[in-house]
């Protein structure tokens, strides 16, 4: 598969097939490998610098376990980078896909919800989240849908959440 999108398709080397189910993941894998390598290196150094306490020495050091885990992670990140070493970057204009936008919007709504809940309270924030969420992702948007379904259903679901968890189960609401 030609990953640059410019040249003719070239057959995948047989060696790659043994490693990969999807060679197009090579570039993200390489970047992930680099990030994990740096992370494990940081953990390794920090663990090494942790104090050794009298009596147990380095055997009981708080850095022993994280250090060993980081060492294994370091080796695994090297393996991840090694097998993705001949990745090719896909160059071209960045085109946000609708799926990415939907996912981003979902995270943004959760972020705002978490942000405003302590400010305005759980019940109003939840009503707002339910309303915006159902409206934003509605398959067919109409005034009737918004008025009846989005507002009505959001109010009903908010009430159920508040009543069942807050009043019956005595769950402390944020």
């Amino acid at each position: 598969m030609d990953q640059s999108g410019t040249g003719p398709a070239r057959p995948e080397p047989a060696r790659r097939k043994a490693f990969y189910a999807s060679p197009e993941k090579a570039a993200p894998d390489f970047v992930t490998g680099v990030v994990l390598f740096l992370l494990s290196l940081y953990v390794l150094v920090t663990s090494y610098r942790m104090p050794h306490f009298a009596g147990s020495g380095w055997l009981g050091s708080p850095g022993l376990t994280p250090g060993l885990i980081a060492l294994v992670l370091l080796l695994l990140s090297l393996a991840l980078m090694f097998r993705a070493r001949d990745f090719r970057l896909r160059l071209g204009p960045l085109q946000p896909r609708i799926e990415g936008l939907r996912a981003g919007a979902c995270f943004a709504m959760i972020f705002v919800y978490i942000l405003v809940t302590p400010l305005i309270g759980y019940v109003p924030a939840t009503f707002a989240l339910l309303f915006v969420f159902q409206t934003a992702y509605a398959r067919k948007l109409s005034v009737r849908y918004v008025l009846i379904w989005s507002i009505g259903l959001s109010a009903l679901l908010t009430f159920i959440l508040w009543y069942v968890f807050g009043e019956i189960f005595f769950v402390p609401l944020p």
Partner: protein, 503 residues
């Protein structure tokens, strides 16, 4: 044991818990985009507000119902509600196309019940025996078991063992954040008092299974769900369907039970192994894939048997083998209980309650499963946007309620983002959850072993159980990677060649 039966029967709140949790599990498992572990994660946040028995009972039955519920959408929509139902979809959907949806649902329900019963027998009889064995374990054996659990989960839960192991290691690393148990020294807390308390287990699990699942479900444009039929038909299997199925039911039940005990395999593997073996040993293998009732029975018996048996290592060893089992273990932690070799000695009543609760759960599955058969099609078609926002609201509530710290809600979001990125990059989540749950135990066992033995590593090879576990661990690692397998084969061949030449 009889006392527990009476206790459950005479407790209306327990009966209510059994039915609502089973119904919730079935619906969550059946609806594409929602999962049983997601429901368990949401419940985990409010688990401490419930009595221990009810909370654990609800968790187990949601897990059970979630695995079973996946078969309903597999039959009616050809979309497995849970990965464990993929094998059921092959023949279940074909049966639905042939106008036998009701029969298929009835068969999956009966098969699921029998598979669960077989595994409950394993749970009741094998756990005490395993506890006896586990009393021989020292820190070295327990350390190796933790590593084995995480690495096997890494090897088997995804397509790529390296990514699975990385996920497990990152999970173990996350669990090291906070004050260490031995010296109360802060690790990776960056001066934050919040992080010194460690990463909130509930927040992490809700983020990993709840929030990321919401985003994954909403990411894809609305998939048009087209049920094969709105008429389910007669929900009663014929004698022909049940005749001669004892062998396949017993075989799949035992396979599922064994798969459940082994770490990392999970319900989907239980279903596939049972299905493939049933096909190989069938008198009519040509019917498989074309609406074989035997295929449906094998897959459903196999995947449901995994649920109770996956509790065996949790209770006997304190080692969960799957994401669902890890959440149940987390629920035990929330109630101040420590699963492991001492659990049965200290909480025998609770163990008996769990076993009896599962038996009652089987009855509930039969009743609720068959009762829902006619209406489930309407539930499956509820738009996702109406449900997912509720999941977010419940996730926030649960993450906050677990420790009454709003920081945990942000932590939940961080784990949601992490899990979403991991899913996009094909990193499995289950090993990470196991790592987070088992990380503190790993730290405890490793440092205990090192301090007691003064750094002596020889018990790893001088203690027979430790040596056996070490060999299994090495074989797991070597067997998972084609490149490592080839290297070992080459080494062996290289070692043989000079010997052959010398001869």
């Amino acid at each position: 044991m009889l006392e527990e039966v009476g206790r459950l029967l005479l407790d209306p709140w327990a009966i209510f818990t059994i039915f609502w949790s089973m119904t919730l599990g079935i619906i969550m498992g059946a609806m594409p985009g929602l999962t049983g572990p997601m429901a368990m994660a949401l419940l985990l946040g409010i688990a401490y507000t419930m009595q221990t028995e009810y909370s654990i009972l609800a968790m187990m039955l949601i897990y059970m119902g979630g695995v079973y519920g996946g078969s309903l959408s597999a039959i009616l929509l050809n979309i497995p509600g849970a990965p464990a139902s993929a094998a059921t979809a092959i023949d279940g959907y074909q049966l639905a196309l042939q106008g036998k949806a009701g029969r298929a649902i009835a068969l999956t329900t009966i098969a699921s019940c029998i598979g669960t019963l077989i595994a409950i027998a394993f749970l009741a009889f094998l756990t005490p025996w395993l506890v006896k064995v586990s009393l021989l374990f020292t820190s070295w054996e327990l350390l190796l078991l933790v590593l084995l659990g995480v690495m096997m989960a890494g090897s088997l839960t995804g397509d790529d063992p390296i990514k699975g192991w990385i996920a497990g290691m990152v999970g173990l690393l996350i669990a090291q954040v906070g004050l260490d148990d031995l010296h109360m020294h802060p690790r990776f807390s960056f001066g934050s008092h919040y992080l010194e308390a460690g990463v909130g287990l509930v927040a992490a699990i809700v983020g990993l299974f709840g929030i990321s699942q919401v985003v994954v479900a909403m990411r894809d444009r609305d998939i048009h769900l087209e049920p094969v039929t709105h008429k389910i038909g007669r929900i009663m299997p014929t004698l022909e369907d049940l005749k001669g199925r004892v062998r396949v039911v017993l075989q799949s039940g035992v396979i599922g039970s064994i798969v459940g005990i082994l770490p990392g395999l999970g319900a989907d593997m239980g279903a596939w192994i049972s299905y493939v073996l049933a096909k190989r040993t069938s008198r009519k293998p040509e019917l498989y894939g074309k609406g074989s009732t035997e295929g449906v029975i094998a897959a459903e018996t196999g995947n449901n048997a995994v649920v109770p048996s996956s509790l065996i290592p949790v209770i006997a060893l304190g080692l969960p083998g799957s994401g669902g089992a890890a959440i149940i273990m987390a629920a035990l932690f929330v109630h101040g209980l420590t699963p492991g070799p001492m659990f049965l000695f200290e909480n025998l009543d609770l163990f008996e309650y769990m076993v009896i609760g599962l038996l009652f759960g089987v009855v509930a599955m039969l009743i609720v499963g068959l009762a829902l058969a006619h209406v489930i099609i309407h539930v499956l078609l509820i738009p996702r946007e109406n449900i997912m926002a509720v999941v977010i609201a419940m996730g926030v509530m649960g993450a906050y309620a677990s420790k009454l710290q709003y920081g945990d809600v942000w932590m939940m979001l961080a784990f949601g983002v992490l899990a979403y990125v991991m899913r996009r990059l094909d990193f499995p989540l289950a090993p990470m959850v196991l790592g987070i749950v088992l990380g503190s135990l790993l730290d405890e066992f490793l440092r205990n072993a090192m301090i007691i033995g003064d750094g002596d590593l020889s018990p790893l090879v001088t203690r027979p159980i430790a040596l056996g576990l070490l060999i299994v661990l090495v074989l797991t690692l070597v067997g998972s990677l084609p490149v490592l397998r080839r290297s070992v084969s080459r080494l062996i061949a290289g070692a043989r060649r000079p010997a052959a030449q010398a001869e």
